[in-house]
Amino acid sequence: MAHVLVSPLNWGLGHATRDIPIIQALLAHGHDVTIAASGNALSVLRQEFPACPHIEFPDYPVSYSSGHLFVPKFCASFPFMFHGVVREHATLEALLSKDRYDLVISDNRLGVFSSKVPSVFVSHQLHYHLPLLYWPAEILAIPVNQYLHERYDRIIVPDNPPGPLSLAGKLSRPDTDVAQERVFYSGILSGTRQIACTQDLDYLVVISGPEPQRTFFEKILLARLGDLGGSGVVLLGSPQKPEKITRVGDWTCISYVSTEEKAELMNRAKCVICRSGYTTMMELAELGKDRALLVPTPGQTEQEYLSGYYEQMGWYHSVEQRHLDLADDLLMTRHYKGFPVMSKTSENTKRLYDELLAGYLE
C-alpha cells in the first residue's frame, strides 16, 4: 500500500474540508495518509482522521484588509508569501528525505511539490480574478501561474469542466497549455454530506471569514434579524470566543459549532445566508440548496467574482455588504433557482481515485 502526504493551506477551513473526501478515499483503498498542515486546518483534519499521523507544517501569512485596499495590501505581502513558499518547499524536501512517500497532494500550497515524488496540486483557481482597474496584473498572473503549475504532475480542480455546470466560472478555466495538459476536473468535493432530515429551520446565517469583516457582517446582520419572521440559527464563526448560545424568540445565536453540527444545520435550513467562499458554494451544491443569499467579503475579489457570476447565471441572489437590506434581499432569493443538478462528492471522489490517484498508487 502507498503512503500519501496531504497538505492543505490554512487560509480558512475551506482547503482542509474539501480534502476530507480525498483522504477518505485514500484510506478506504488501504493507503496510509500523513497530514501536513497548520492551525485550524490541521485541527479539523486531526479531528476527522485521528488515526492518521500529522505534521505541524506552517504556511504563509495572508494580508486581509478591512475594505477595498485588499489588492495593494496583498501585493505588498508578496515577499513574505514568497519566503513562506521557499521555506515550506525546503521543509517538504527534508520530510521526503526522511520518510518514503508515493504521492504528495498540495491543496493550494505553492511550495509543496517535489521532483522526486509525484506531486498533485488541488485548486479551483487556475485563473485569478482582479478588479478591472488591475487588469494588467490579471494578465501577468497567467505566466506566473503557468510557472507554478509546471511544478506539479497534475492539477485537481474541484469543479465541473468549463461550461454551464461550472461553479467557479472563469476561475477554473485553464489559460495555458500547461494547465490544459495537467488539469483534472473532479467535480465538487465537499466534506458536508446530505442527510435525511426535516427542513425545520427557515434561515441559517453563517457569519465567517477573516476579521475585521467578520465582525462588521455580524453587526449588520444581528441588527436586522428582527425584521424577519420565522426561525433561524446564526453561526458567529468565532472559535476563539467561549462557546455561547443565545436565544431571542425563534432565533438562536451560537458562537461556534463543529463541522458536523454545521453540516446538520445546513441540511435543516430552507435558506442559507453566507459569504460566497468557494467551499461554501460547493456545500450548497452538494446539499442541493435552492435558496441562499450571498454577501461577498468586501475586497475579496474571488468572492466578489463568484457572487456576481451566480447572480448573472440566475443561481443565487447576491448583494454587497454595504447595500444589504435583509428583508428585501431575502424576498429576492425566491426568484433564483439554485445550482443546476450535478454529480455529488461521493461519485466525484470515486472517479477521481479511479482515473487519477490510482495511477500513482497502485
Binding site: F82, V86, H89, I139, V144, Y147, K170
Partner: protein, 72 residues
Amino acid sequence: MDDLVISGVIALVIFYAGIVIVAYGILRLVMIVVHAFLFGDFLLFGAIIGCIVVAIVGYVAVGLWLRKIGII
C-alpha cells in the same frame, strides 16, 4: 530549489520595479501639469490633461475588451 528562489526573486524585482517606474512616471507628469498651470501655459496644461483622459479611457476600454473576449 535554486530555480524556485531565482525565478521568484526575479519576478518580485520586476514586479516592484514596474510599480516604482509607473509611480515615478505619474509623479513626473503631475509635476509638469502643476508647473504648466502655475506658469500659465494652459495649452500644455490642456494637452496633458487631454492625453491623460484619453489614456484612462483607453486603459479602461482595453480592460473591458479583454473581459469581453474572455482573456481575463
